[in-house]
């Protein structure tokens, strides 16, 4: 029966990646040739250190802890949001983002970026952004005023949507992905045309619609158009539809924010009848953005789906 160093080395060998079976055997064979008790312990301990630190197990464990920690923090904060319809989409987006982050540890997942300095910087920026969101959540977890709480929710939603878009767009541009340059061009083009149609409607047939149905209908149309231009394979059609939808929703939301801030009074709908006549336009400029928060959240969901679809449909890594 093996002594303790032998058992330690047996356990260590289990931690070695499947592609390294010879090295576990080699370590055990070396140990079998050693006789001194102290020497056996030192050798087995050294092998364990090699297995843990050099075979990415430790890095994988830290990565998992960071992802799960950030996920737990954000979900805990999201649970305190008063507006319940927002909580489930937010939870879904954050959970999918966590899965994508976990998968991102796979080498060369971000295709064209590989393992060079740019890839390193991009990943570092991603972690900083994720850390920033977690920090905002923590700092707003004990908000004392309604205004602080609202700001926290706004930052949380905005941050999650930005991360979702960043991940979705990076992943759909990955070399290992199925999206071709033509697919990206047609999808972005359809999204841009749909958003431009919405903008022209708001400017030339004012005011900005107080309901989001028009924006959602155009988003659906753009997705169908992009899909029909990329019918080669179902995977590409799916990516095109999602990319087009995400682009449309993001551009429409940006257009609403810009028009509400800088647009002429004529494009602002009167949606605050309770306000004083002198304040109605100013109040309506603030209030008209609220219905379009749905567009922003939907955009985050679609971008998350885009990132997940890009990961699921990517080409297998060469052996």
């Amino acid at each position: 029966m093996a002594d303790l160093p032998g058992r330690l080395l047996d356990a260590t060998a289990h931690f070695l990646p499947a592609a390294r079976p010879d090295w576990g055997r080699a370590m055990r064979a070396e140990l079998a040739a050693l006789e001194g008790r102290g020497e056996r312990w030192r050798f087995a301990g050294g092998c364990m250190r090699a297995a843990i630190t050099q075979f990415r197990l430790l890095r994988a464990a830290v990565h998992l802890a960071v992802v799960l920690g950030a996920l737990g923090t954000v979900l805990a904060w999201a649970a305190t949001i008063g507006f319940r319809p927002l909580v489930w989409p937010l939870d879904a987006v954050v959970s999918v983002l966590a899965v994508v982050c976990w998968q991102a540890r796979r080498a060369a997942m971000l295709g064209p970026l590989g393992n060079g300095a740019i890839a390193w910087l991009l990943r570092a920026a991603g972690y900083l952004l994720a850390g920033g969101i977690a920090a905002v959540c923590v700092s707003h977890a004990r908000a004392t005023t309604g205004s602080e709480s609202e700001n926290g929710v706004g930052l949380l939603v905005g941050g999650v949507v930005v991360v979702a878009y960043a991940l979705g767009l990076v992943l759909v541009c990955a070399r290992s992905g199925r999206a071709t340059a033509q697919l990206r061009l047609t999808a972005v083009g359809c999204g841009a045309v749909a958003a431009l149609t919405w903008l022209l409607g708001a400017v030339f047939v004012p005011p900005i619609p107080a309901s989001t149905w028009w924006a959602l209908a155009l988003t659906g149309t753009a997705a169908i158009a992009a899909l029909s231009m990329n019918l080669g394979t179902p995977r590409r059609a799916l990516l095109a539809a999602l990319l087009s939808g995400a682009i449309t929703l993001a551009l429409v939301f940006c257009a609403v924010v810009l028009l509400a801030q800088y647009g002429p009074d004529a494009v602002i709908p009167a949606i605050t009848p309770q306000a004083l006549p002198a304040d109605r336009i100013a109040e309506s400029r603030i209030e008209i953005v609220d219905p379009y928060i749905l567009v922003l959240v939907l955009g985050g969901l679609v971008a998350t789906a885009l990132g997940a679809a890009a990961v699921i449909t990517r080409r297998p890594r060469p052996a």
């Binding site: 370590m27 064979a29 050294g46 090699a50 050099q54």
Partner: protein, 102 residues
């Protein structure tokens, strides 16, 4: 073979030890003793060198009774050439002395 970075001092020590007699198969524990590296440092180096095609490995043919065959290592042709190139390069500048040592 694109290789621009000079390897670590430990890797160099392993390469030099193996390059002393490239035809001879060496086993890990003996090599570690020679270059004064513990298993935790030696095996990752051996694995990296193997992965890069600089080191070849085989199993001992006739191990003593009751002991499993050991893994044996020696440099490949590329490994021998790389070790020779490194031996001709000027060594890296010595580390600056720390204040305490100055």
């Amino acid at each position: 073979m694109a290789r621009t970075r000079r390897p670590s001092a430990q890797t160099l020590a392993v390469l030099n030890a193996l390059a002393e007699d490239p035809a001879t198969w060496r086993y890990g524990y003996e090599l570690g003793r020679q270059v004064k590296l513990a298993a935790g440092s030696l095996y990752p180096i051996l694995i990296r060198l193997c992965d890069r095609g600089l080191l070849e490995a085989t199993w001992e043919d006739e191990p003593p009774q009751g002991r499993p065959p050991r893994h044996l290592y020696r440099l490949t042709g590329s490994g021998v050439r790389w070790a020779a190139e490194l031996a001709q390069e000027p060594a890296a500048a010595p580390a600056r002395p720390r204040l305490r040592e100055a």
